[in-house]
């Protein structure tokens, strides 16, 4: 095994100290070439920090990095790139205003005479990369027009374009659909066959077991497990990660559904190039029910939620809340009628990063602290603290900027903001995206509790386990249409087959 996968890079005694915290406490890490080195741990365990050290984004406080027997020191990212190390960050580092080709070659443009950018060469190289990644993306497409999943593929292409020998993928699949994940895994196989060493960070454990050759588990800046992937199963990983056995998301109390609380009929959203992004979708949610909206990336799930939240003025169709038609055409009106949305992209849509935690929590419900035009700051602060406690958000002070929180806690702030409006229907778009397993379990428990309190919850997810474990009812969307509806306890295979109706039974649909 060792012969087959030589160690390409190793860290001994790696320590990284940030002001106030020791993110890494003496870590020994071996990176094997031609293999997938899986790195797993809860948020804040130090995975990202470790990778930043390897990629030269951060300088190590103590310890050594050795490559091919020579001690290396990466002070800047350029040093690491020169040594053949590429990294794809979880948060995409792309330019929405530039084209795909321009993004891929940003910072290392092919030029004629050092001045003139060789656009044609870029286009050609991009075309080849996209072919290799099996993506039908034109090199001249502005990046901002792509879905997040496609943008991630572009980010991977960017690292590949630099001929990296070591490629670090930080949560590459967190926004990818099942089909895109398959493509990514094929690319990873191909790269490892060529001898590239891959470091793969993810929260999706079953994915890790599938793709990994070696596994390293981090907890609180210490490595708690490192071995070859043979014989590793999810309970082992979870035990190494959090030191206890796996958490259950399943229902603990008996289902108790009330009357229908929300209904959508014939919702349409025309697509720019003809056809529909949301194609005559009708669904209903009962009070106390958690409905999972499952489907592949681009199936129109997020767009449907956006229609409910009045984000698309051109959409058609009708909504009802508690049997009364929803006629309000703007966001404040819909919030007032009891609809709350937790958006997919926390940073872009969910939070005002420079505002404090308190101000973010109360932003949607200021009217309830207002008399005429006077804002009762005391009442506001009290309610904010109440919600921080209720949702167990870990904060030093509610006055700190929300950007200082970890992903899971930021997500709880978004949820808190939605709950403060006193919603009847909660729309959650990928509520567990980019948060660690502990925070995830807490978010799911919160969803259960809210449903038990009589809310109707409609949540979008790309994670099959999640949708199966959490939903009272599963609705599957594909290409803008509802292609299946299943009760809880349905077999996974049935749900999956509904996501690609054209592949199996295109005749049935056409008929």
């Amino acid at each position: 095994m060792t012969e087959k996968h030589p160690i390409g890079l190793s860290i001994r005694g790696g320590v990284k100290v940030y002001p106030g915290t020791r993110a890494l406490k003496g870590v020994d890490f071996d990176l094997r070439m031609g293999a997938v080195n899986v790195l797993v741990g809860e948020n804040g365990a130090g995975k990202s920090t470790l990778m930043k050290l390897i990629a030269g984004v951060e300088d190590m406080t103590e310890g050594t990095i050795t490559m091919d027997g020579r001690e290396m020191r990466f002070r800047t990212k350029a040093d690491a790139v020169a040594a053949g190390i590429g990294i794809v960050f979880q948060e995409l580092n792309l330019f929405p205003n530039l084209s795909v080709a321009e993004n891929i070659f940003i910072g290392h443009e092919t030029t004629r005479g050092g001045i003139d950018i060789d656009i044609e060469a870029h286009r050609e190289a991009t075309r080849q990369l996209m072919e290799r990644l099996e993506q039908n993306i034109h090199p001249d497409t502005p990046l901002g027009n792509l879905r997040i999943g496609q943008q991630q593929i572009v980010e991977i292409a960017k690292a590949l374009a630099q001929n990296a020998r070591i490629l670090i993928l930080d949560e590459p699949t967190s926004a990818l659909s099942a089909a895109e994940v398959e493509v990514l895994f094929r690319v990873i196989d191909e790269l490892t066959a060529q001898g590239v060493g891959i470091v793969y960070i993810s929260h999706r454990l079953e994915e890790l077991i599938r793709v990994g050759d070696y596994i390293t588990v981090l907890r609180d800046g210490v490595i708690t497990g490192a071995r070859s992937m043979e014989g590793v199963d999810i309970p082992w990983i979870v035990k190494a990660m959090i030191g206890s056995s796996s958490k259950e998301y399943g229902r603990s109390e008996v289902a108790n559904f009330g009357p229908e609380i929300f209904r959508a009929e014939d919702i349409t959203l025309p697509r720019a190039g003809g056809g529909f992004t949301v194609d005559h979708v009708s669904l209903s949610i009962r009070s106390g029910e958690i409905v999972g909206l499952y489907g592949l990336m681009g199936a129109g799930r997020s767009e449907f939620l956006e229609c409910v939240m009045a984000q698309h003025p051109h959409s058609g169709g009708k909504f009802w809340v508690e049997g009364k038609p929803l006629t309000e055409r703007d966001v404040p009106g819909r919030i007032a009628r009891g609809i709350a949305l937790i958006p997919e992209d926390r940073k872009r849509d969910g939070l005002i990063q420079i505002m404090s935690i308190r101000e973010n929590l109360t932003l949607s419900s200021l009217p309830s602290f207002t008399k005429l035009f006077h804002l009762d700051l005391k009442k506001e602060a009290k309610t904010a603290v109440e919600f921080i406690k209720r949702l167990t958000i870990k904060v030093a002070s509610p006055e700190n900027p929300v950007s200082s929180l970890s992903g899971g806690n930021q997500q709880k702030v978004v949820i808190g903001k939605a709950l403060m409006t006193g919603p009847k229907v909660l729309l959650m778009d990928e509520p567990s995206r980019g948060i660690d397993i502990g925070a995830k379990a807490e978010v799911f428990r919160t969803m259960r509790r809210l449903a038990a309190e009589g809310l109707g919850i409609l949540f979008v997810t790309s994670d099959l386990d999640e949708v199966l474990a959490l939903s009272d009812r599963i609705i599957v969307m594909a290409q803008g249409r509802v292609t299946g509806e299943f009760p809880s306890g349905t077999e996974a295979a049935k749900v999956i087959s509904a996501t690609t109706p054209n592949a199996q039974n295109s005749k049935d649909i056409a008929a």
Partner: protein
């Protein structure tokens, strides 16, 4: 955060942070103390009143500008609006409004003031509509209204000055010069007006949903919209408020000089922006305080008046003003970095 030195003592940062946060006030004390020593008569009552009156004019505009900048916009039209409003008040005093067959309508001082304010608010309304409904970038929209308002001011008199605006007792406008020259309880009327407008603006910023929404729009427009903030309405308000502030300045200047010149208020917008920035308002939006802006306006005015009293050449004055503004922004950047780090440390200390 990128790499930060590991050895920063935990207690040192908050003290430095407090100093940095109070920097506008420190700057005020510094310039004040400096000129009190260096310039003869600087502390005399007469001079203090003059400086305060100058500062008030900048402060009015800067208050309106602060709201606009917090939403992430900019209002270049305020200087021209000042000119236009001065001309309108001159016109109303001299000619009233000609209703054709029904004769001429004349106004008393209060009515004139209200009408002029309506003109200012209307300019702001046009800015707001251009920016929200027609999607014009704030810089361009207000650049356009800058020219339009200035042109309208010039057209109103054919480029001439409206002289002798002492008002007419028959129409009840004899008290017009009092706006700029009168005093109340020993303080000039315009200082009372500044106190009123300043308090109202600070109240709006701190204690009303509207104020919170202004900050939210500047911090993340998309996020604010999804949280139920009526973004367009907020933007419309800030530009109208800025126009209102400009109208006040136009009134005061016309009253003070008892004359209205169409070039009144040229480049005032730059002083207003400078005062806001000096007071800690971030041009990228989301951050700024009314109190800071007013202090910033006073720093700029004391600086220029003090330098005049020390008979520093006006060319050097310009250079010094520029240096102060640049220094203010550099310090501002240092502060926000430090602030973010302190907050991160606090969260890190929680163990996560």
């Amino acid at each position: 955060m990128t790499a930060a030195p590991a050895s920063t003592p935990a207690q040192g940062s908050p003290l430095l942070l407090t100093l940095l946060q109070a920097r506008t006030y420190l700057a005020l004390i510094l310039v004040f103390g400096f000129f009190a020593f260096m310039a003869p008569n600087f502390l005399s009552v007469a001079n203090s009143v003059i400086v305060a009156k100058h500062a008030a004019l900048t402060a009015f505009l800067a208050i309106g500008m602060t709201f606009v900048i917090i939403t992430g916009g900019i209002d270049l039209s305020v200087g021209s609006t000042v000119g236009l409003c001065a001309m309108v008040s001159g016109w109303l005093i001299l000619y009233g409004i000609d209703l054709g067959a029904m004769g001429t309508m004349q106004f008393n001082t209060l009515e004139i003031a209200l009408l002029v304010m309506c003109v200012g608010v209307f300019v702001g309304f046009v800015n707001g509509i251009l920016i929200t409904k027609l999607n014009v970038a704030p810089f361009i929209a207000t650049l356009g209204t800058l020219y339009i308002a200035r042109g309208a001011a010039l057209l109103s008199s054919g480029g001439r000055t409206f002289p002798n605006l002492s008002g007419n007792a028959d129409y009840g406008s004899a008290s017009f010069p009092g706006i700029g020259a009168g005093t109340f309880l020993g303080l000039p009327v315009q200082i009372w007006m500044l106190i009123a407008v300043g308090l109202v603006a600070a109240y709006i910023a701190k204690r009303t949903p509207l104020g919170r929404h202004i900050y939210a729009v500047g911090g993340n427009e998309r996020g604010a919209a999804l949280s139920g903030v009526k973004v367009n309405r907020v933007k419309l308000f800030v530009y109208m408020f800025s126009g209102f502030c400009a109208a006040i300045v136009g009134l005061i200047i016309a009253s003070q000089l008892q004359a209205a010149h169409p070039a009144t208020g040229e480049t005032f917008e730059l002083n207003a922006i400078a005062a806001a920035v000096l007071g800690g308002t971030s041009l990228s939006g989301g951050r700024g305080k009314i109190g800071g802006t007013i202090v910033g306006a006073f720093v700029i005015s004391i600086l220029s008046d003090g330098l005049v009293m020390m008979s520093v050449s006006s060319f050097w004055q310009t250079v010094i003003k520029g240096l102060v503004i640049v220094a203010a922004v550099v310090i501002d950047q240092a502060q926000s970095k430090l602030q973010a780090r302190v907050a991160l440390q606090q969260e890190a200390a929680l163990g996560r």
